[in-house]
């Protein structure tokens, strides 16, 4: 075997490994999506069938008819509103931290450490507080908590993106007679537009995917789709058609959104540590 053939063989082996690994990681997702298109008879067929007889949307129709799909709407409301709030407050704070070194490293470290505490320990006193304030199972309560929980992430990420902008541009804008606020609106925000967008997407995804906060702080009115999915788990039998259809309703939007964010993914999930 000459060198060229060996190289070819190596590439083929690598490609085969890549395909096998990708298949392993995609198969459960395929299974979830596929189940949602099956009829009940097909779901409970033995041995299990690996593809639906035909694509049909009855499982989704049931969710919309029973009003369960409303929980996806709830997720959308709390995730979007809290993202907008966290982005607005967090970016201002990040600018101050980045440009004026407000509070030094200690403040920045304290802020990011707020995010790393286990949610259950955070949500327990919040729950007691909310019972007292009558905020349990309200949009306001959930939005407030998501905003606070995502603020450290926004501050931390935006601090990184703002640090990437050359200072000289802002200085020349100041010399030209812009106020500090004008500099923010006309120079800083446009310059880090991509970073703002990427951070907002990830903030949204975190709130959207959360389970434990919603589990504790919602009852019926504002439960999110993640809580709804667990309602279909039964002691004796699981409502598989509903589990899968509801999961797909909650997962598909995330896939689509993240598909557009590939470039920012590594930076987003590594808390800005890896520029990617």
């Amino acid at each position: 075997m000459n060198l060229r053939q060996r190289r070819r063989l190596k590439l083929i082996l690598r490609l085969a490994a890549a395909i096998a690994i990708t298949a392993f990681f995609l198969f459960p997702i395929y299974w979830l999506f596929m189940i949602s298109f099956k009829t009940p008879e097909e779901i409970f067929a033995f041995p299990p069938k690996w593809w639906p007889g035909q694509i049909q949307f009855d499982n989704y129709e049931v969710l919309f008819k029973d009003g369960d799909a409303k929980t996806v709407g709830n997720s959308l409301v709390v995730a979007s509103v809290s993202t907008v709030l966290a982005m607005f407050l967090g970016t201002l704070c990040a600018y101050s931290l980045a440009r004026f070194r407000t509070g030094g490293e200690n403040l920045a470290n304290w802020i990011i450490s707020q995010r790393m505490v286990p949610p259950i320990a955070v949500v327990f006193p919040i729950f007691l507080l909310y019972v007292w304030l009558k905020l349990v199972d309200t949009y306001v309560g959930l939005i407030l908590l998501y905003t606070a929980f995502n603020l450290p992430y926004v501050i931390w990420m935006m601090r990184g993106y703002i640090n990437d902008i050359p200072k000289a541009l802002e200085e020349s804008a100041l010399v030209d007679g812009c106020t500090r606020w004008q500099v923010l609106w006309k120079v800083v925000f446009p310059m880090c537009r991509a970073g703002l967008f990427a951070t907002a997407i990830f903030t949204f995804v975190f709130a959207w995917n959360d389970f434990i906060f919603a589990l504790v702080l919602t009852r019926t009115e504002v439960s999110t789709y993640t809580v709804q999915v667990t309602h279909y788990f039964g002691g004796q039998s699981n409502f598989w058609a509903k589990i899968s259809a509801m999961s797909v309703l909650g997962t598909l939007p995330i896939f689509i959104v993240v598909g557009f964010m590939q470039r920012y993914l590594v930076r987003g999930i590594s808390l800005g540590a890896v520029k990617g």
Binding site: I21, V122, T147, P152, I243, V266
Partner: protein, 312 residues
């Protein structure tokens, strides 16, 4: 915002340079605190105030039946130290972390090595491989409970093909198999996280150093430990830190697969706190547990942040 900030600049040009500087400095100082204030307010409101409340409640004796708000000293803390179930939950959490973290790291690194060289369709592969990371963990757990179902799941079916018979393994009920089942789901979801970060780190390794090492006749392992590993270590440390902290609060996947069962076999510390606080309404006891978790984690995080370069 005081009106003076909106005054036209021409006015200041007339005053002396030093006066401009001091005026600008005070203005900046006010400005920087105005920007920070709302965020800090929200963080304190949702962070510090409940924390104080938590401390107070943990010294009382509030349970489902009893609204006893008199101070009980260290009653709940004594009870916590003597609670074997709590220590077991802590142990389970440590076991999950100690097994899942190295597996995710090694698999992620191996995958990153595979994809670092040119390979046809590389971008498509990477784009597909990240999908598990962005799924909600509770949905990932639900998905794996579909996969692991003893009768209608594909895993037993595949095992059945391999052994040439019918497999009826109860993955989420059999005490010997719940840990492997949960770990498979956990590793499935988060190995791509390690992979992505390490792939980015590997791409940033200086190619000329690798060439020099290969010219000098250094073997693959030697090159890896002497050049590649030190180069990717900063990123690796961050990946380990983020995943380690995530694993410590493991909740969703276990909740979807076993709810901590059978019995309390797979109960993590987060599930333990949830059950105590929201199903048994042992309010004061849970406050003590939550406080312990916060203190423990804060120490770890603060120590880790000093060592790890998390963003510049």
């Amino acid at each position: 915002m005081p009106a003076s900030c909106f005054q036209p600049r021409e006015q200041t040009h007339r005053t002396s340079l030093a006066a401009i500087r001091t005026k600008a400095a005070t203005r900046d100082r006010r400005f920087k605190y105005v920007l920070v204030a709302p965020s800090i307010f929200v963080l304190l409101l949702i962070g510090i105030f409940p924390l104080i409340y938590l401390i107070v409640v943990s010294f009382q004796n509030i349970t489902m039946t009893d609204m006893d708000t008199s101070f009980q000293g260290l009653l709940n803390y004594r009870q916590m130290v003597n609670d074997t179930r709590m220590w077991q939950a802590l142990l389970h959490t440590v076991i999950f972390t100690a097994i899942a973290l190295p597996i995710e790291l090694v698999l992620g690194l191996a995958m990153a090595q595979l994809f670092i060289d040119r390979i046809p369709g590389r971008q498509v592969f990477v784009a597909l491989l990240v999908l598990p990371v962005v799924i909600s963990p509770i949905v990932a757990g639900a998905t794996w409970s579909l996969m692991f179902d003893n009768r209608f799941g594909p895993i037993n079916q595949i095992i059945g093909w391999l052994i040439g018979g019918e497999a009826t393994i109860l993955w989420t009920i059999n005490p010997n198999l719940v840990y492997p089942a949960i770990l498979v789901a956990e590793v499935w979801q988060w190995t791509p996280f390690m992979f992505l970060l390490l792939l980015a780190a590997l791409s940033a390794v200086d190619k000329s150093q690798l060439e020099a090492a290969s010219i000098d006749g250094a073997g693959w392992w030697r090159t890896f430990f002497r050049i590649v590993l030190p180069a990717i270590w900063p990123v690796m440390a961050i990946a380990i830190l983020i995943r380690g902290l995530d694993l410590f609060r493991l909740f969703d996947i276990v909740w979807a697969l076993t709810r901590g069962g059978p019995g309390t076999m797979t109960e993590t510390i987060s599930i333990f706190a949830y059950v105590k606080g929201f199903q048994q309404f042992d309010t004061s006891f849970t406050a003590a547990v939550a406080l312990m978790i916060i203190v423990l984690l804060s120490i770890v995080v603060m120590a880790a942040l000093k060592r790890v370069e998390l963003a510049r």
